[in-house]
Symmetry: C3
Subunit: 245 residues, 3 copies
């Protein structure tokens, strides 16, 4: 059983953080939370999402897996406006997800979850932790897009630094500890990442909201932030790129 | 003679309801009203528009037919902003329509009306009448576009229902009498329509404005609403599509 | 040496008036002003820009020429928002322009100015002077785009007139002296210009701002307006087109 009511903007935020990585996803419904974990087709990034039942206006669910076309659900949600309460209901007979927005009833077929993997979140030792305002990080990433395909993130006990090098142009964003919300880096860490993926991961976080980055050296990064009015979170894992020189 | 002054937004609304069906139209100017009637090139839909002289700031006209390129007139009106008073004047010598916006004088050639038909509005017995808020109807139509090319409208004495069926997905908007502005349906009626045409017909009606639908079984529908601050109306007639099964 | 701080919107306005004519430009830095002069690749128009050091929050400069990719600088400025103070600095060792927006440091390569010309502003005797509100002029130009590729500007002691003639349609904007901010035309003047160029020249001037036009007969026009909170100006020179009949 899955029968919930949720604010339109919360459901939209779940879609927004998932859709840059995958088109189809397996929702793991549990009695106390909705979760999903998925890896993008190129196996470069993983999304791990958890939304507590408290994020919902009403939440009645037993354990079940629902295969959802995320882009299609995003299209349906464009029919709703901020403030709408949306009902999601699993029709077990037809294996459809029934979406109710006001008086409108939209039934969408679910996807067979048989072939969908259950990716494991690797246990990584990432020594550095940076908490930064979304707007600050976003400006660095957007600047980097103009000069390169990849950016370097590095941290030491005093600074966090984002940089990108093109043939003739460079981008550098160096933030001392007091301009960050938090910085812990016992040793110097540096890893290189695809700007495209990194940009997609943070684009849904608005202005002053905090983003947490966990970093090692030539290691994946974890990018974490809250969604659903702090009743949920997204953790992304992003594989590093190897420095060419 | 045709020499009128009209609020920019009223002239824009006349263009907006006509241009989805035809590019060129014959305006039938009368001493007390501006009217037009046109059928789209595929002969699926008819528009019948009537704007009373009261809708105009000034209105001096004798009976005349003016062939107008509606898209070109729409382009000219984009030079005006809400609140502008626009002057339209027929120059009989050059057979041009003279459009004055502020100090700007824009002369556009009129089209020969000789080949333009005078479609007759068929006399149809459509037993059901539904009056519905534009926003409610619009949401149903937009949802339907994602699953099919055609939608079904049906009414009985208790409900009005809009539905669309795709291969795997469906849309259903069922409104009991008390959620409608008006419902009269002596018997059960049902007809199928092209979503594309239907969507175009209602797209200019904003939020809470009422739309009237007159419906039969496997019969055309009439879609009616007011324009020009209730000093005018549009009636569309839309041919049904035949149910394939 | 070149090391200045400037409001984001002032730097953006310098880019906005230059980029329609050229992609790469030589900035002539002087101790008391930033200037540039450039001719478009088709040699139809010249831009002559002067921004006083008073337009800057801080201004430290010795005489130097900097070859700048204007489109790239425009892209960088999109990272800033209105109210940001941007630092521009010439790094003489690397020959880069260093742009600082908040904590972000963006280094862009400068272009070799060796091949870049120093166009001379011809000394023209243009008898007519018209000062007109940007919005009024802009509406005339936009209307003209729909009917022709070129427009005529003419002035006499009583009126300024903008007109365009298509095969079947025309545009005419005739303004008597009292609807202009200023009009001086000792004799009748008339010249024809490319709408495309003319439109580009005035598009950055907002609503009620004044634009000065200096006009002769079959002669170039000068189009002049202030930028940088009246601490700078742009003068365009636009070659006439020859009337075909």
């Amino acid at each position: 059983m899955f029968n919930v009511k949720v604010k339109s903007e919360i459901l939209k935020s779940i879609i927004e953080v998932t859709s840059p990585l995958v088109n189809e996803v397996k929702l793991n419904i549990k009695p106390d939370a909705l979760t999903l974990r998925a890896v993008d087709p190129a196996h470069v990034a993983m999304v791990d999402l958890h939304v507590d039942k408290k994020a919902f206006e009403e939440y009645k669910a037993e354990e079940i897996e629902l295969g959802v076309d995320i882009d299609k659900l995003g299209g349906i949600m464009r029919l709703s406006t901020s403030g709408d309460i949306v009902t999601l209901e699993h029709n077990e007979e037809t294996n459809q997800l029934v979406v109710k927005i006001g008086n409108l009833v939209r039934r969408m077929a679910l996807i067979d979850t048989a072939g969908m993997p259950d990716p494991k979140m690797p246990n990584l030792d990432l020594p550095a932790k940076i908490v930064i305002k979304a707007s600050e990080l976003s400006r660095g990433v957007r600047a980097s897009e103009a000069v390169s395909d990849h950016l370097a993130l590095q941290a030491n006990k005093d600074n966090f630094e984002l940089s990108a090098e093109g043939d003739t142009d460079t981008v550098n964003l160096k933030l001392p500890k007091d301009l960050l919300l938090e910085l812990k880096a016992p040793s110097k860490c540096k890893s290189l990442f695809s700007i495209d993926y990194f940009s997609n991961m943070i684009k849904s976080v608005r202005g002053e909201e905090p983003i947490t980055i966990k970093l090692g050296t030539d290691n994946p990064a974890r990018v974490e932030f809250n969604i659903a009015e702090k009743n949920g979170y997204v953790h992304y894992l992003l594989a590093p790129r190897i420095e060419s020189e």
